[in-house]
């Protein structure tokens, strides 16, 4: 039984997971409403909310799971990457709990957590390729087994989710913009011509900043000419440009590594366009596709507890000097 703690951005979360796969509780306190008025996550505001909520959330996670602290085998906490001030709340709480009780502590990489969100639905089978897409990350990861990660590609500038949010802001859509673009895109036609950054022929890296600039120019030029933007069409065009690259590069990664499974992870997994496209392409290519349910796509502690379970089983414990690592690397 592992208690997970996650505070890397604007969600304060604690969860109890049994045996790595059985979710007993997953309490998430979202700060979305707090940050909406600022048009994005304000780190200091997030940290203040985390410190206020953290103990109550841990308490609630144990209550809902019907277990007490002494039933825990390990405490797993997001060590990074993320906002340093926010991460520090989870790390401080986890270390204090571990020190006070003698229960071993493991530090978990946030992206490993996102991948293991799938493990709570259906046990992961290896080897696999994972596409991790969120507001902070866009990565293709190869996994040979538990705890074994190899990076195949990553974004060289903006994360996919970041691109969604920035373009939403350009279009004056409310924060967070991703879901709004997804909704609009479903009603529009991809009539605007936008670039796709394929990079070098063999590269599995991503780049979305050029696409964002292209949208900016398009909106700017239209307003210069006093032309109205077809909002739904622009959303559809932008979304398609992002998805084309995400989907094709994921399939290339699967082919290149010779695996049979693709796992989707991270907040952008909630994008309905991405889900549909991946389902179609994977069906065509006879690749098994795993997509977590919506409630496990966004940041949560259950995924951290799940990933942490295998580090615990490997004896990969953290020291009392464990620190938050805002730029922690997975591999």
């Amino acid at each position: 039984m592992v208690l997970g703690i996650e505070t890397s951005c604007d969600e304060t979360s604690a969860a109890v997971v049994k045996g790595g796969t059985r979710l007993l509780s997953n309490v998430i306190s979202s700060q979305m409403d707090v940050h909406r008025k600022f048009g994005g996550v304000v780190p200091e505001v997030a940290s203040r909310r985390h410190v206020e909520r953290i103990t109550l959330i841990m308490q609630k996670a144990l209550e809902q799971a019907g277990v007490s602290i002494k039933d825990l085998d390990a405490i797993a906490v997001t060590q990074g990457p993320g906002l340093v001030g926010a991460l520090l709340i989870g790390v401080s709480a986890a270390k204090a709990l571990s020190f006070a009780t003698g229960i071993p502590l493991v530090g978990v990489h946030h992206i490993a957590g996102h991948i293991y969100a799938n493990h709570l639905v259906k046990p992961l089978e290896f080897p696999l390729v994972a596409l991790v897409v969120s507001g902070g990350h866009t990565e293709l990861i190869y996994m040979e087994g538990h705890n074994r990660y190899e990076r195949l590609g990553r974004t060289r500038d903006d994360a996919a989710g970041e691109a969604f949010d920035k373009v939403a802001r350009l279009m004056n859509l409310p924060y967070p913009g991703g879901p709004h673009i997804d909704r609009l895109a479903a009603q529009g036609n991809p009539g605007y011509d936008l670039p796709r950054a394929w990079l070098e022929a063999d590269s599995l890296d991503f780049s979305f900043s050029g696409l964002k600039s292209a949208v900016m120019n398009l909106i700017h030029n239209a307003s210069q000419r006093n032309e109205a933007i077809r909002e739904a069409d622009l959303a559809a065009s932008f979304q398609e440009a992002v998805l084309d690259v995400l989907v094709e590069k994921s399939l290339r990664a699967v082919k290149r590594t010779g695996v049979k499974r693709l796992v989707l992870a991270g907040g952008v997994s909630a994008n309905s366009g991405l889900r549909v496209r991946l389902h179609q392409r994977c069906a065509q290519e006879q690749i098994e596709l795993l997509i977590p349910p919506l409630e496990l796509c966004t940041d949560n502690a259950a995924m951290i507890a799940s990933a942490g379970t295998y580090q615990y089983l490997d004896g990969n414990f953290a020291e009392l000097s464990l620190n938050a690592e805002p730029n922690l690397s997975l591999v």
Partner: protein
């Protein structure tokens, strides 16, 4: 009964263990370094308890500095203390980090002014006077522009002892404004002590004051910049609206 006290609200990291009934400090560890509290706090606790041959199960109460000070620093202390309090079912008491520092001037004949730099010519400070074995606020702690603050202190027309490592940044303007009335702490007096925090919280414990709750938060003394700007914007919006109608 023993109390574990911790203060990480400034560069100083202090931890102490007190015997509550005997009113004794059993051990104390203090450093004043540009180093990460997050990395060092737990190993330091481990070391101090080890030296005292104690375990966390020997601790019956907790004390923590509530701020003001470094936002990140205070949060590390408060999160650590709150979590231990919850995990072990121990009462948690808190005290202002300025009051803790003011305790170093307990024997001073006059008012005591602990002070932390709040940047942009502002300070976190309060004016304290002695009451028995404790320091109490005469002018409440606040974040204030240093010149305005010195005006208020000058009006008291009393010797004023300035405490804290940040005081040196304002020494010149303090001397200019208060002249002979201004006094300055020694190097040792400028360091907040976790044992003082413990003694202040011991007082709360002895007086059966209610301990902190699980949603206890640091006292930052000021809202975040983002919130302040947002309120300002709302305020402007309201005024222009009022002018229109």
């Amino acid at each position: 009964m023993k109390m574990l006290a911790m203060d990480t609200s400034t560069l100083v990291m202090g931890i102490a263990v007190l015997h509550l009934e005997e009113k004794r400090v059993l051990g104390e560890l203090t450093t004043n370094l540009h180093k990460n509290h997050s990395v060092r706090l737990m190993p330091a606790l481990d070391q101090l308890l080890g030296d005292l041959e104690l375990n966390m199960s020997d601790i019956q109460a907790l004390a923590v500095s509530a701020g003001p000070g470094s936002y990140t620093g205070i949060r590390i202390g408060v999160t650590t203390a709150k979590t231990m309090s919850w995990a072990l079912g121990l009462p948690l008491y808190s005290e202002s980090s300025l009051t803790v520092l003011a305790m170093n001037g307990l024997r001073f004949d006059g008012v005591v002014v602990p002070l932390f730099d709040a940047r942009r010519r502002r300070v976190y400070s309060g004016v304290y006077r002695r009451e028995g074995e404790r320091m109490v606020e005469q002018i409440p702690q606040q974040v204030v522009e240093v010149d305005l603050w010195l005006e208020q202190i000058a009006e008291l027309n009393q010797p004023a002892l300035f405490l804290g490592d940040d005081v040196v940044r304002f020494e010149e303007v303090i001397r200019r404004r208060l002249g002979e009335k201004a006094r300055f702490g020694t190097a040792a007096e400028n360091i907040p002590r976790a044992s003082q925090l413990g003694m202040l919280c011991r007082h709360k414990w002895a007086n059966h004051e209610p301990p902190e709750h699980a949603d206890f938060s640091p006292n930052y003394l000021q809202m975040t910049e983002a919130e302040a700007n947002w309120i300002k914007k709302q305020g402007n919006g309201e005024t222009s609206h009022a002018q229109k109608s």
